[in-house]
Every structure is written in C-alpha cells, then in structure tokens.
Symmetry: C2
Subunit: 209 residues, 2 copies
DNA sequence: TCACTTTCTGACTGATCGGTACAAAACTGA
DNA sequence: TCAGTTTTGTACCGATCAGTCAGAAAGTGA
C-alpha cells in the first residue's frame, strides 16, 4: 500500500488550520494547571486557546484527551530539572538540584504556581477518576525515579549502608508535594526556596545515621 | 421582647424533622472529604445524607454554606491532635505528636484518606474561589499555630537561639501537607507513619545547629 | 375538629456541562 | 472552473448543574 506517499499528499489537502497546534496546547495547559481538570470547562479552554469547540475536538479529541496531551507537554517541559538532578555526580547535589529545582519550577513568573500533578485532580467526581489515577501514577513514577537514584548512590557508597532509599525517596517526594500545596496556596519563590533549603539541611541529618 | 420564650414555644411547632442534623452533616462531610468541594454534586450530597434537596437547603443553606458547616465540624473533630501536640511540654514531643497525629488522622479506617483542607479545593473554577481561599486561610492558620508553639519553645530555651520558628513552622507544615497528598494518592497508615518518623528524625538535624 | 406552622416530596427552573451536526469557507489537484 | 478534502463558525444536543416552587403530610395548641 502506498499510504505513506498518500499521507504526504493529503497532508496539504483541504482548508488549512488557522491556528498553531503548539500554541493552542500551551494555552490549554496553562488553564488546566491553574484551575485543575474538573475546574476547567470547555468554554474556559476555547476562550484561552482562541479556537472554537469543533476545532478543539478535531485537533485534540475530547477534554480528557486534551488534558493528557497537555500533561505530556507539562512533563517534558517542567520537569527537566529532574533529569539534571538525577545526572548530578553526588547524591548531595542530586537532592539539592531536585529541591531547588522544584522551588523554581513551582514559582516561575508567567506560569501558574504549583505542580499540575498535584493540583490537577487530587480529588474529583466519579467521571474524572481516570485522570486522578493517571496523576497519582505519575507522582509515583517520580518517586520511583528518586528511589532509583538513591539506590545507585547507595551502591556507589555515596549513601551509608544503613540508609533506606525507599524511605528517603518517599520523604523527599512528600516534601516536594508539600511545596506544591504551599505554592498553590500562594507561597512565592523566596518562601519555597526557604522550604527547599530547610529540607536540604534536614537531609544531612537523615543520612548521617 | 419575649422572643426567647417564643422561640422555645415555636421550637416544637410544625412537622417534626425526620432526620438527624448531626448525622446528615457527618455524611455530607465524608462526601466533601472524599470528592472535594467541586467534585461533589448536590445529588451526591442528598444521596449520602438520605434527605432530599429542599430539606438540605432548609437545614443547611446552599452548597457552600453546607460545606463550611462540614468544614467546621471537620476542624473540631479531626484536629484534636493539634491541641494535644501544642500542649505537650517539650518541643520534641510537640513535633512528634503533630507528625504522628497527622499520619493517623489522614489514614483513619472508615474515614476518607487525606486532609480536607488540602483536597477540598486546591484548584477550582471561578465560582468556588471563595471556598479555595477559605481552605488556604485555614492551612495558614494551622501554620501560625505551629509557629506560635515554636516561638514559645524558643523563649523557654527549648529551641536553640539560632532557630527560626517561622522557617521551621513552614517546613513542618509543608511536610504535613505533603503527607496529605500522599494519603490522597493511596498511602496507607504504615507508609504515612514512616514519613512522619523520617521527618521527625530530620527535625533533630534541623534544630541542632 | 380545625387553624397554624414546619417539613417533606416530586416536579420544575434557567444555566451550564461536555460534545456534535451542518453547512459555508478555504485550500488542493485536475 | 470544479470536484474533493479539511477546517471553520454557528447553532444545537441531551444530561447535569445548583437551586426553588407548590402542595401534601405531620406535627402543635385551642
């Protein structure tokens, strides 16, 4: 079948789209980020994206599908500091980059405050349950990534033999999620940074056992 | 005016209410706690409370008014451990009771997991904004209570002169709010307890500077 | 029994929810 | 110019939202 060739031809067929997909998705992301999945209505979305409803559905599918696309973009864009932290040579630098990166990411000027994984749907009605679970799963994946880095550190002797990577990862995750609640409540960058520094200081007490 | 006397008379006039106010309010609280303010519909409420709509409105006012009444009850009932913690003689016991009390309260069998102040409305649509702010304000009041206890400890010499009650209170609050996110995501009592113990351990590192 | 008061029940309101049908518009290749 | 294809804007869909009306029901005192 010559589907591939045909696709290239048909790609330019028909009335051209009058808006930019990336721009529109960015705008949708910002609304979901600020208001949460259920707090955002389709009217909110079309207004922010500057497109009308049928265009939204044709380009992104239904509301949940659009949210997941926005979520993917959020993960790619807003969690780069995670990889930088994980790539750090020492566990001390890892934790520092992680906590301080979170403080920055959750208080970026021009972006909604807080973390989409937390404020997207901590609770919801029955209809949005699948979205809630998706966010919960992604939070757990983040914790697993931290745990993996700590396990590596332990193997390398960068963490004492008595340290439990699972417990420590859970603790770090909890602090970061708490920072997300703080940010959602209005905490600014200075305040978040102070929390991060306090947690970092506490870290040294934890691993010196 | 003889209003007082009259009220006693009229209190027994008319058709008697066929449901118990406290029971109904408890049921409403549980729904709000589990689904959040906006995730809960009036149909959810009337079903759970086993009353119909006009009875709900007559007894509790509109949805927001009912939520605030449920919130008041939640605060009275679910944060008793706060006062016990604050009343503890030493700052060490205060922090221990606070963190462990939170772990217990957020994982009580037969109650929704997590904290209503966090999952009630971290984000919302424009209509629920006043509820979101109310919850944010109550979280901040909790932080202020912790700060007050730490200030007292500092004055008593139970905290070192270099310790900053504001920063420490913010840190403790953040950890507890993170625990609420963990609980909302399904963390059980054992896991929450482990987080609390880890934070408690970290505490000693923080105040020994 | 009967006026009076309050609650209960069920049906209803206008507004908004997420989602879609339809036809005009804007492009392509022929 | 004209068929074919895709997007556009408008107007609409049934369902559900929070909230209310009106009348029957259930109690009171006289």
């Amino acid at each position: 079948m010559s589907n591939v060739v045909k696709k290239h031809k048909t790609a330019e067929l028909g009335r051209p789209r009058s808006f930019d997909l990336d721009t529109a998705l960015d705008r949708a992301l910002r609304v979901f980020w600020r208001k949460g999945y259920e707090g955002t209505s389709l009217s909110d979305l079309t207004r922010a994206m500057r497109i009308n409803r049928p265009s939204l559905y044709a380009a992104f599918g239904d509301k949940e599908s659009l949210f997941r696309k926005a979520l993917d973009r959020y993960m790619v864009r807003e969690t780069r500091y995670w990889q930088k932290a994980i790539d750090a040579p020492t566990v001390r630098e890892f934790v520092e980059k992680l906590l301080r990166g979170a403080a920055e990411a959750m208080s970026r000027a021009g972006s909604p405050r807080g973390c989409l994984l937390v404020q997207g749907a901590l609770t919801c009605s029955a209809e949005a349950e699948s979205v809630r679970r998706e966010l919960s799963a992604r939070r757990q994946a983040g914790e697993a990534a931290i745990r993996g880095r700590l396990k590596l550190a332990k193997k390398e002797g960068d963490l004492p033999a008595g340290a439990d990577p699972g417990t420590l990862a859970r603790y770090l995750t909890t602090v970061m999620q708490g920072m997300a609640v703080q940010a959602a409540g209005g905490a600014n960058r200075t305040e978040l940074r102070r929390v991060a520094d306090t947690a970092l200081k506490s870290w040294f007490g934890l691993i010196s056992s």
